[in-house]
Symmetry: C2
Subunit: 334 residues, 2 copies
């Protein structure tokens, strides 16, 4: 079946293709009479404009790329939901890219982003370098980074929608320190290294302000299958600290199980806070205290900022937006 084109419509309505184009795009003025005729022809033939041809003619694809790491997007469903919903409102198509660590596949992704001529890009933290940001910027492609705060940048085509993890960690730890508890540890999450660094910074600041030093950053090499494996092993000969901070659910669950097996009571012997909340943490027994991060909103706002950059002045201000969060106390904290 030959796809029907603007020519077919023009012939059917007995006008020139220019006129058809006009009624499609609502440009200029078209006489009521002919507009109706054209619309009828469109309806009758079931004509649908070819977005590719439009893209070529307009140098605008109404498509934006979303790139996130392969591992990460399993945890970021809601962020994606937020982005998808907003993109629908503005009628943007979504090109989806994933990066796997290891070989720097980000190169390939950038390559295909450039070739695809998408109008904008949304990147997640933790899967690109500054060089790569620079490349995209050279091509004048507006982009927004979502997740954590990115370093001071003066690239005008970059926006940032983020959670201030440094502040979050600082506040959390300060509270405990002020209650006389300084036996605190944080478990590294290799999937979110840049967020970890920000949190570490916040914790260290809290300690430093009180003349102390934070030392219990629990990291591990690649010899374990994952965090869970590592932690169950780790707690065989380590007593959990009074407060343990984890980033994701897997780590929190590992801690809960390890404590249970070692005979420690929560929250009496040890307290646990997981940064990223999800439903499993509330289903667990004991249920795990966590932070309510507005994931959906992060995605929605990021996409909205991007569309703003696309239609408005690209040098728009207020492109950096800090999102809030709130603590969800559950059974693992007093």
């Amino acid at each position: 079946m030959k796809r029907i084109t603007i020519y077919d419509v023009a012939k059917e309505a007995d006008v020139s293709l220019a006129t058809v184009s006009r009624v499609i795009n609502d440009r200029n003025v078209v006489s009521e009479k002919t507009r109706v005729r054209v619309e009828e022809a469109i309806e009758k033939l079931g004509y649908k404009p070819n977005a590719i041809a439009q893209g070529l003619a307009l140098s605008k694809t109404t498509t934006v790329s979303i790139v996130m790491s392969e591992k990460l997007f399993q945890y970021n469903g809601k962020i994606l939901n937020g982005m998808m919903d907003v993109s629908k409102i503005y009628n943007y198509n979504i090109m989806f890219h994933t990066t796997s660590k290891g070989i720097s596949k980000m190169q390939d992704v950038i390559e295909s982003i450039i070739k695809s001529h998408v109008d904008g890009v949304i990147l997640f933290n933790d899967n690109f370098s500054n060089d790569e940001l620079e490349v995209l910027h050279e091509y004048q492609i507006p982009m927004v980074v979502v997740g954590g705060k990115i370093d001071e940048h003066n690239i005008p085509t970059v926006g940032n929608v983020y959670i201030n993890f440094e502040k979050l960690a600082y506040e959390l730890v300060s509270k405990y320190l002020d209650n006389g508890i300084d036996d605190i540890s944080m478990v590294e999450d290799k999937l979110n290294l840049s967020m970890m660094l920000q949190m570490k910074k916040g914790i260290e600041k809290a300690y430093a302000q009180r003349g102390k030093t934070f030392t219990q950053y629990i990291s591990y090499d690649g010899s374990y299958k994952g965090t869970y494996d590592f932690l169950t092993h780790y707690y065989k000969d380590h007593k959990p600290t009074k407060l343990v901070i984890t980033f994701r659910d897997s780590q929190a669950i590992a801690i809960v199980n390890a404590c249970k097996e070692a005979g420690y009571e929560m929250p009496d012997d040890t307290e646990l806070v997981c940064v990223l909340n999800n439903k499993y943490l509330s289903m667990l027994r004991p249920s795990v205290s966590a932070y309510n991060i507005p994931e959906y909103d992060l995605g929605a706002v990021a996409m909205r900022v991007l569309t703003k950059m696309l239609v408005d002045d690209p040098s728009l201000k207020t492109k950096d937006i800090e999102m809030g969060y709130s603590f969800l106390p559950r059974q693992t904290t007093k």
Copy 2:
């Protein structure tokens, strides 16, 4: 910055644009000498072909659409991973669409699929009707449906990569029936209705073959926030059956918690099998028996089948592929 085009390269290398096109696409024979010259020019100018223009010229976008329901894709990360990896191998771009139930957004998705002129589509079960499949077929767009088995179809442009949930349920229930246990229930999962129906069919068949009738299909209306809420309420005045079958983790976890709170022992008082495995089920105490569904492979194979349909004869045979599964016994079964 003006994007540099094939003309620029041609001028730089002092050849015609046709020649440049030839070296880019490796078409015809180009003399070694000029090819090198062209390649140098490409390198020097940093030329990247405009995929949009290529798409227009070739009527081929090397892009495929993936459409899945908004709710579902949070659970199907690995399937997506499989699809993404294979699409990378074949250099296909991914256009990502989500459908939310309620208003039939599927209409919009189809609209944009048609306009985008993607080369093929991958659909998940449970988010389209046969009519919608027909529309896509009218446009000759190759597509594959992934997840459960779709009804007999004779649309030549549709492939199907699936798990035989009917068989799975039949086998599972048969085993228990043959051991004299017929106090079995299955909890409905509203996110996967078509799979539920297939499983129900399998269970009913197992019962029927033994002159019995399956009655304990546990469903609920929309008055609960979700399955978890419903189940915790349900088991206040219902004793769990000897075997409970759930589809997803949330439901399984609800059962585990409900039993624990009601003082039932697993697996002695009641056994539990969750169809879709995931890491939380193995972390839970007791850990939940489940099926190892090759999610990644489902996605990978689906994408591979689609690419085959795209390059090979579109009327290729063996487009319907049944994937295997295996049982993972854990603490909730004897």
